[in-house]
Amino acid sequence: MPTLLEIQRAMRRSLVQGDSTAVSAMLAAQISPDRLDIYRNTFLLTLTRALRLCFPVVQKLVGEEFFEGAAQIFVAEHPPRSAWLDQYGSAFPDFLHAFSPAESVPYLSDVARLEWAVSGALHAPDTEPLDINRLASISSEDQRRIRLIAEPSINLLYLAYPADAIWRAVLAGDDAELAAIDLACGHVHLLIERRATGVEVEHLQAEPWQFLARLCAGEPIAAAIDPNSDFGFASALAEHLSLGRFASFELIPSQAEDQG
């Protein structure tokens, strides 16, 4: 008699790999193995639907049938790691990038990266913005050790194609706009975040994007500022703080102080 774990592994093999040999032998005598198709179909349909919800523009770009075919291959290669399906699909952009049938749409994976960031912003946890007074109360000698922690919906993307323009044109259903996009315009620097009014996708210049990216990566504020640049770091930082782009901060432990 198979154990519970053996049955569950055999069922997984049937659903994910389409191989029902082992589990068929574990079924009650009167049960036709054809019935296992119901579970495999639900597995594929549910997860394809989850991907469709997360990547609607990718689907519009390649068509429903192509999307479904790609999604089913992806689902079998990358089943979700949890039942919280809002978090399912992080590997889909890389999958599309390497998916040879999609080669003729070179910007597809960049659009997918943008949609994944938008979805992440939609579902990011709620946090209170950092109280600027708390930051001001740090003594001047400790200020160089301040490291900011980004508000969780914030995502910064550096993409080879103008995915934001493509995304907007497809969402607006504007074919003329889509046709007018210059795919060779070079890399774009994007900021994706959830504001009170909804998720925003903003096009930044290289320097402000790099500064924000350094801060979000946890570099101390002092280190993220390039002294040789005439970019207005102080006003940029003030704007990020006033817009609530940071949730909290921490002080990087100082070696000297630990020893002293």
Partner: protein, 294 residues
């Protein structure tokens, strides 16, 4: 920042009336129109993040008691339940303060992967022990009683030795949890396995049934000429299920009853009509009970 009020008065308790499964399509309609529905149930997994969904639910719960119904805890997983998922459920429970919390007698996590369906368990002593251990773990972690729902299944395993209704009763008896009696699932599974649906209901213990689910199912023909009932929650409740529902409330008394509709979700009015039918059956059952008592 929206703050949810503390329902110290106990207004978050789920009344023994007909409620509706709330889906995203109806968030705005429910907030705007405040339809006359005594309670609502949502899938816990849809509110684990921040942003708009949980904000709608916080707004709705100010006036309407909420039940949280999970699909992903995988109480029947041989490898244990995912503590991170249990922690996520706990966070939603703390924020929404639901009147009821429920899960399924099923599994869907294996090897750290989620199979995205409610998978059937073999009805064995081993599976019963595993489920009971996980119900205990869940109730201890959440510090509250949960309800567990009987599954709809399409296959059965050769090593199953416990009738499903006995398995359900044993989980409740051993762990102190309640039973969420899904009458549609009983109808579906009874057809698919050749059981007597009416006898299933008659075999469930009376006092532990804390909620009833009603939904639509479809019928599919198989290659061998037989038919399979599919629990797809995509249509009106069948007459057969309404008949079983009358039997269920006669046996279990008036208990909170939910209309579930997940695929091809209709306008909210259609759900209100289905809930109205359940409500009138509950009311006439209660009139009869009062007349019998007089």
């Amino acid at each position: 920042m929206l703050m949810s009020p503390r329902n110290i008065s106990g207004t978050n308790a789920i009344p023994a009336q007909a409620g509706i499964g709330l889906r995203f399509q109806h968030h705005q309609a429910v907030v705007d129109a405040r339809p006359d529905v005594p309670w609502l149930e949502v899938h816990t997994e849809n509110y684990m993040g921040g942003g708009t969904p949980i904000r709608y639910l916080e707004a709705i719960r100010r006036d309407t008691p909420i039940s949280l119904h999970g699909v992903g805890l995988s109480l029947g997983s041989a490898e244990g339940i995912d503590p991170a998922h249990l922690a996520r459920i706990h966070k939603v429970v703390e924020r929404i303060e639901p009147g009821l919390v429920s899960e399924h007698i099923a599994w869907n996590m294996i090897g750290g992967e989620y199979l995205a369906d409610l998978m059937p368990l073999p009805m064995t002593e081993e599976a019963l022990d595993v489920v009971c251990r996980h119900v205990d773990q869940t109730q201890n972690y959440l510090k509250r009683r949960i309800l567990v729902e009987n599954p709809s299944t399409y296959v059965a395993f050769g090593n199953s030795i416990i009738p499903e209704w006995e398995f359900m009763a044993a989980v409740a008896a051993r762990t102190g949890c309640g039973i969420l009696c899904d009458v549609n699932n009983i109808c579906v599974s009874a057809h698919n396995h050749g059981w007597d649906a009416s006898a299933y209901i008659a075999a469930l213990p009376i006092d532990v049934v804390g909620e009833i689910h009603l939904a639509g199912h479809s019928i599919r023909s198989l290659a061998d000429g037989s038919t399979l009932r599919i629990d797809d929650h995509g249509s009106r409740i069948s007459e057969e299920v309404w008949t079983l529902y009358r039997q269920a409330i006669t046996r279990f008394g008036a208990v909170p009853t939910l209309i579930e509709w997940d695929n091809d979700v209709p306008p909210f009015d259609v759900l209100l009509q289905e809930a109205g039918r359940a409500a009138s059956l509950i009311a006439s059952k209660e009139r009869r009970a009062r007349a019998d008592a007089a």
